[in-house]
């Protein structure tokens, strides 16, 4: 089984962000990066499937500047077979521009499965996976929280608002992975050592035109500082009074 997992390098969301002078990007001073949360789940799913349905190959793919090599090495340390960097100075906000480059790379790869995280935690668009599927003409299931493969078909569960769907699909396919399906493994020391010898290729990304661009970035208004109104159950009547008369939410 041949599996590609597309991963994105995103800022560590626990950091305090500030807006750069150009007002269209984040200040890079002291910025720390990591693999996107959902991409980690996608990679874990890919590794588990390869183990279960092997022999196989898991290729990790990332589009971005040289900094993405760090998360690609992490993917290799977790167990991926090889890595590909599609090099570009700046990752566009436009999902179609990115999907075009990924589709170009993946088209001739002969993959049984192409996995993505449900969305990138930075741009939060969730468009690249299904767009790549369409550009490749492949079946696609998004936001998967459970997955079973048998032969050349798969069964997935995806969560909807207040419901869940069971979806059957034919391979080859593109899947986007939600949380709850598998917790990403930690790379072992042996894995980290092995990763240094695994192949990591770099080639220029064939980005599509970007028609969706960032005009401005702003930090949302800070919430007013918190306020403790009392201690213990005796504070409950005061809370209800405030909710009714001040916040007016009851």
């Amino acid at each position: 089984m041949k599996i590609a997992v597309c991963i994105k390098r995103v800022p560590d969301m626990e950091m305090r962000f500030s807006i750069a002078a150009d007002r269209t990007s984040l200040d890079q001073t002291g910025m720390k990066y990591e693999m996107g949360d959902f991409d980690g789940y996608a990679l874990e799913v890919g590794l588990q499937l390869a183990e279960k349905h092997g022999p196989g190959e898991v290729v990790v793919l990332s589009l971005g500047p040289d900094g993405v090599q760090e998360i690609l090495r992490k993917g290799l340390a977790m167990g991926a077979t090889r890595a590909v960097q599609l090099k570009v100075d700046q990752v566009p906000f436009d999902g179609l521009a990115v999907a075009s480059a990924l589709a170009e790379e993946l088209r001739s790869g002969g993959y049984d499965l192409i996995l993505f995280g449900r969305m990138a935690t930075d741009t939060a668009n969730g468009t690249v996976g299904p767009m790549t599927a369409e550009l490749l003409g492949l079946p696609c299931v998004t936001g998967i929280s459970q997955l079973d493969l048998a032969d050349r078909t798969g069964t997935a569960r995806r969560d909807l608002e207040g419901a869940s769907e069971t979806v059957e699909f034919a391979l080859p396919a593109v899947l986007t992975i939600d949380e709850g399906i598998a917790r990403p493994r930690l790379a072992s020391l042996k894995g980290i050592m092995a990763a240094k010898k695994k192949p990591l290729e770099t080639r220029p990304a064939q980005l599509g035109p970007a028609n969706l661009t960032v005009q401005r970035m702003e930090l949302p208004a800070e919430r007013p500082p918190g306020r403790i109104i009392g201690e213990g159950a005796d504070a409950v009547p005061e809370l209800l009074r405030l909710l009714q008369t001040e916040a007016k939410v009851l």
Binding site: T121, A124, V141, F169, V214, Q215, R223, A233, L243
Partner: protein
């Protein structure tokens, strides 16, 4: 004058609230650009056409209905091909979807088929001559991004709950369309839709959320949270990642960076310390209440009203008092 399209989402043979939101957005877009027509597209099993006229209430002039016995449930391939063809032949300035689970699946496929970009998960928008300006919360809600989308048609998916369905009543003309492909030929098939509960509100739609964390100490103590939500009435129950990871609650209840991002009118955090990963999912709630024994817990830094103390005493009292408030009305 430009025409606009709205995709009307359905479930179990009925229109969802987001369908009216999409039509309302399309109507607002049309009215802001000279009052062109609004068309809606609706797919479903035979009988779906009966729902179509309801979209006239929010300003749809024409509703295209695609009925087929193979469309009892969502079918991504039939939907994306059929909606793409409608957009192609309709020469629309923009097409509106919602960023619901179904819309997030459908809209990017339609965009890719048409070879156009999409502004996803949009909270506000403005149609200009040569561009659409859209607001999109990104970086787990920590950064507001203003996006410029050029090209036509512009595809936009709207964050559910951010457009209030508005009455703009008219007689919608209903036209029938054939699906662009045979549903039986689809390679992806939804074989079952399991409704979790017909009585419980979804986290994304509930005006009030009561949420529990590790402070509850055990799965069975979530009953305190459920009782409070029941006493409030129009409330849903959420949880932190720590709690869903431990299996106290299903993963679908998780609020946070990797779970649901919610913006209710009132968020009551019970036994939640306030890890950044959790705050990312609820910091945009209008009013936040926190009940926690540790006065230094980060949740108190953003709670409009905090009570320090033992939740096992405070929450039952709050439930009892809430019942009185709710019964008086």
């Amino acid at each position: 004058m430009s025409a606009f399209l709205a995709f009307a989402e359905t479930r179990a043979g009925g229109l969802r609230k987001v369908a009216f939101e999409a039509v309302t957005a399309a109507r607002q877009a049309a009215d802001s650009t000279g009052g062109g027509e609004v068309h809606a597209v609706l797919l479903g099993a035979p009988g779906m056409a009966q729902e179509a006229r309801a979209l006239g209430r929010n300003g749809a002039d024409v509703v295209y209905v695609v009925e087929h016995s193979g469309l009892e449930r969502y079918n991504p391939e039939v939907y994306s091909t059929t909606v793409s063809e409608r957009i192609r032949s309709g020469q629309y300035r923009a097409a509106f979807f919602t960023a619901s689970a179904e819309g997030r699946d459908l809209a990017p496929r339609v965009a890719a088929r048409l070879g156009v970009s999409i502004a996803a998960d949009v909270t506000e928008f403005e149609i200009q001559n040569d561009a659409v300006i859209a607001q999109h919360p990104a970086y787990t809600g920590k950064v507001n991004v203003t996006l410029k989308l050029t090209g036509s048609p512009a595809l936009i998916s709207l964050r559910p709950g951010f457009v209030t369905p508005a009455e703009q009543p008219r007689e919608a003309r209903v036209e029938t369309l054939e699906p662009a492909m045979d549903p039986a030929a689809a390679r992806v098939k939804v074989t079952e839709v399991a409704q979790r509960s017909t009585t419980k509100l979804d986290l994304g739609e509930a005006p009030i959320i009561v949420s529990g964390g590790r402070g509850l100490r055990a799965a069975e103590n979530f009953k305190l949270v459920e009782d409070l939500a029941a006493a409030i009435g129009n409330a849903a129950v959420g949880a932190t990642r720590a709690v869903t990871d431990d299996g106290w609650r299903p993963a679908t209840d998780q609020i946070g960076q990797t779970g649901r991002l919610v913006s209710p009118d009132l968020y009551i955090a019970v036994g939640i310390s306030g890890a950044i990963q959790h705050l990312a999912g609820m910091r945009t709630a209008k009013t936040i209440v926190a009940i926690n024994k540790d006065k230094d817990a980060p949740i108190f830094k953003i709670a409009d009203y905090g009570i320090v103390g033992d939740l096992f005493e405070i929450v039952p009292r709050l439930t009892a008092e809430m019942k009185k408030v709710r019964s008086h009305g």
